[in-house]
Symmetry: C2
Amino acid sequence: MGATSRAPDAHDHPPGGSRPARRRLSVDRRREELMAAALELFSKHDAEDVSVDDVASAAGASRALVYHYFGGKQELYVTALRGAAEELEERLRPVGGGSALEEIADGLTRYFDFVEDHAAGFAALLRGGPANRTGEVGEIVESVRRRMLRMITHRMRVEEPGAALRVTLRSWIASVEIAGLDWLENRDMDRATLESLLVDQMTALLGVAARHDHQVNVLLADLLPMRAQ
Amino acid sequence: MGATSRAPDAHDHPPGGSRPARRRLSVDRRREELMAAALELFSKHDAEDVSVDDVASAAGASRALVYHYFGGKQELYVTALRGAAEELEERLRPVGGGSALEEIADGLTRYFDFVEDHAAGFAALLRGGPANRTGEVGEIVESVRRRMLRMITHRMRVEEPGAALRVTLRSWIASVEIAGLDWLENRDMDRATLESLLVDQMTALLGVAARHDHQVNVLLADLLPMRAQ
């Protein structure tokens, strides 16, 4: 963390720069540094063992500043997770241009970019933590899953997925998650192979659902005109 | 709950029954009733809103008895979840007699019997709760998943699954979980169809993995001699 291009902060004094804009940027950056430090710590240690002092010290900030920005450890944890979830959703936003399956494969690559870039945050997001005591972490994870489901059905031009399509896509999303966690734990398969396995899984799972359900059968003929069932 | 066959309790006085055995049975039964009441409440309400008093009152017991058996709400919650997980693992124990895929399909039926019989407990187990603050719930859920993975690979006569088989089976187990939760949430697909969809998913996912991995390819030829890849 902190190795990205450096934004101007309070120590930079360009001759005629506007002070409020500079100060605002510095505040945002400070907050981001605290969040990055928090995510890193929460994902590498049992949340019970991470203190506000640890986060402050990892970010080179005061304990008071952490409380000022976040209110406390629980809020810091939830905020950091929410930030990670928002970044993931932002990355998954479809760029357009390919077939539905190509775009889903492309989204998968961006999902694994996120897993790779934010290994700690990803594991923290899915493993849950202290905030689950009020269901907030579960809600964040569920919200990402719902968003992924909507992105996929939207790209497939499906307004309201039937039971078979919904279960199939939710299954696949769960597969992608578990594959991401498994990859972080074992790293014994290269990413390209794993991604290609998951794309093939999507096609195969849709093929299975098509045998059970008319909506999926019609959809699949549209998605895979070359190898219609 | 409590509608199952009634075991003898303190009010039954068979002429020559052994008192210690009767008392022991009664203690176990009381504890089970408290656990059943706890699971039911924890899964129907936000854990924050369930008190020891609620559990005691639902089981027709005193608050002191709950503390006596479990120590407190957190311990009660973890104990109830652990009990549910043990019951699930017990039900999944293979009975033998069929082909590997038949036994897996049979295990799936018993998994959904559990989901149906213990809807509240199943949802509680997977949704997590207050105990996640110390990772105990996550550990219980993970332990069930690991046990399922071992049961399946053992039945497939695989000592050490390679990366592709491991990821594929973990994906499928995640699919089964999400399908169980989805079924409880929506109930818009009949169980037999859903189970058959999941068995077909297993075959299809192994077929995908076989295209990427030699171990799975050899395994699949053994599992599905009729439609070897």
